[in-house]
Amino acid sequence: MEESSSGHLRGTAWLFGDNIDTDQIYPGKYLPLTNKSEMANHAMEGTNRGEEFIKNVKPGDIIVAGKNFGCGSSREHAAIAIKGVGVTLVIAESFARIFHRNCVNTALPVLELKEVKEIRDGDILEVNIETGEIKNITQNKVYRAEPISELEKEILKAGGLLWYLKLVKW
């Protein structure tokens, strides 16, 4: 994983389709697990490339998905497992509301990008979290994602919602 102080992330894209629900991201049968590293062993396990993902995913990798990523049940395990396996960013065409919240609240950044379909599996992406600029190093292209809001950046910087709420002076 490479991360500069200016908020740049560089990683390999893992492609997933539309309407990936939280049961595919983290199957319900593992809900009783509470240890975060154990939970990470099952990230994306319910998807059609679950086995391949768990075997080969590296810290710094980036999940790139289609529409409505994280729909279905509100389980926070889904965000925790993805983060736990070392994924540093999720890019999708759109996110389900509660999953989006769970990611930000557990300090996993998410970006919405209209052109996700142009990204191919295994592409190397360099992402400026501050501006939303995504460089596709492999294809030599640049995309502009909706930048992360200032409010979300503050939560991410604090290490998640609860840390933010402990520290914030209103």
Partner: protein, 414 residues
């Protein structure tokens, strides 16, 4: 401004526009027996014994596994009772009913309220002009501590329903018809406002049916501008300082949908998605094993009354189990007083104590492999109510008619 823009503008003290990110003060933070124990654990891990932000703005409801079915559930409920007692929080125990309905019956929600809870159908509170949001455990834990949460102001869709409801077409049929058109992702991250003659004529129960199913459209919240029907109910349930809310005439909507229900026939959502909606005639005659009348979508007194009219003096078909569950104890008492219980029991129905009941895995009444159920609830995802079982979603009228026939049947065919 639309209704949600008005609510968030008032709370933040500045004019918000869609896609803004804001911190909003909460009027009510709730949790229930499922999800609630995790919130308590996370709260204690992070904030120890710190008092909640305002004990008068917190409520705990027991909706799901009531009374508890096993030791694990009993322990979870005990955790919540202990937390409620130590923080002086209101708790509605196993003898009350479904959370959102309990909040409404206890004057805790009114127009302009911003309410969160560990329930994906909190948004049905839009039926009274309140902004209800389902949230994850971290959100609720943080909200309990600070009384504020972050929101992205949703864009608003306007849905106009032309024509009027004519029995046997009900609010549920309209909700399913809209779902068929919008699909389960059609309102993703959007608020909806419902307008039209059919809407103004709806009672609270019907408005709740419609707004609750905004969840199945992936919407954040569905609003119906509250009127005297709603104010009367809220006043009768000890809400005070009720203030009307309506969108501005020049409010900007992302998109406007118009539907004409003049020729609408009863609708049914087939397995395994709430938007797999057909005219009942397309599936009529399919043999069924069980019928469920209840849930936050269709468990109010008016829903039970429709079913009772159809069931009165008749028997549930041999081999079919009819399970009826009022949403709350107040509704159950009203149903008992009005003679509905006698009708249900004489028809051969099983009447269960108020709660969410057969909306969720792990409740008694779960189906065996291959069995078929007609349900008045809001979801029919695969495996949710039994492995390889099939669930059809329909109105209380269709559910009752089907229970009598032993097959999927339109109330019009009785």
């Amino acid at each position: 401004m639309t209704i949600i823009e008005k609510i968030f503008s008032r709370i933040t003290g500045k004019k918000v526009i869609p896609d803004n990110y804001i911190w909003a003060d909460l009027d009510l933070v709730t949790m229930r027996d499922f999800g609630g124990p995790n919130v308590v654990e996370e709260y204690k891990d992070n904030f120890g014994d710190a008092p909640v932000f305002d004990k008068n703005k917190v409520a705990i409801t027991f909706d799901l596994h009531i009374p508890p079915r096993d030791e694990k559930v009993a322990r979870n409920q005990q955790i919540l009772r202990e937390f409620a007692k130590s923080h002086g929080i209101k708790l509605f125990d196993v003898n009350t009913g479904i959370g959102q309905h309990i909040l409404l019956e206890n004057g805790l929600v009114k127009p302009w309220s911003v309410v969160i809870g560990t329930d994906s159908h909190m948004n049905l509170l839009g039926a009274v002009g309140a902004a209800g949001f389902g949230m994850g455990t971290t959100d609720i834990a943080g909200a309990l501590y600070r009384g504020k949460l972050w929101f992205k102001v949703p864009r608003t869709l306007k849905i106009i329903i032309n024509g009027i409801l004519k029995y046997p077409v009900t609010a549920k049929d309209v909700a399913l018809y809209i779902l068929k058109n919008l699909t389960t992702s059609g309102a993703l991250n959007r608020a909806i406002e419902f307008y039209g003659d059919a809407i103004w004529m709806m009672n609270l129960a019907e408005r709740i049916t419609l707004t609750s199913m905004v969840t199945e459209m992936s919407g954040d919240i569905g609003f119906i501008e509250p009127d005297e029907t709603i104010f009367d109910f809220l006043r009768a349930h000890s809400a005070t300082d009720i203030e009307p809310i309506k969108a501005d005439n020049n409010a900007e909507y992302e998109r406007v949908y118009e539907f004409d229900i003049t020729n609408l026939r009863p609708q049914i959502a087939c397995p395994h998605s709430p938007d797999n909606v057909k005219n009942i005639s397309e599936v009529a005659g399919k043999k069924i094993d069980q019928v469920f009348i209840g849930s936050c979508t269709n468990g109010r007194f008016e829903d039970l009354k429709v079913a009772a009219r159809i069931l009165e003096g008749k028997k549930v078909s041999n081999g079919v189990r009819l399970i009826i569950v009022p949403a709350t104890m107040e509704i159950a008492q009203e149903a008992e007083k009005m003679g509905l219980y006698r009708i249900f029991l004489e028809s051969g129905a099983v009447v269960v104590n108020p709660g969410c009941s057969l909306c969720t895995t792990g409740h008694s009444g779960i189906l065996a492999p291959g069995e078929v159920m007609v349900s008045t609830s809001n979801r029919n995802f695969i495996g949710k109510l039994g492995k390889d079982a099939e669930v059809y979603l329909a109105s209380p009228a269709t559910a009752a008619a089907s229970a009598l026939r032993g097959r999927i049947a339109s109330p019009a065919d009785l």
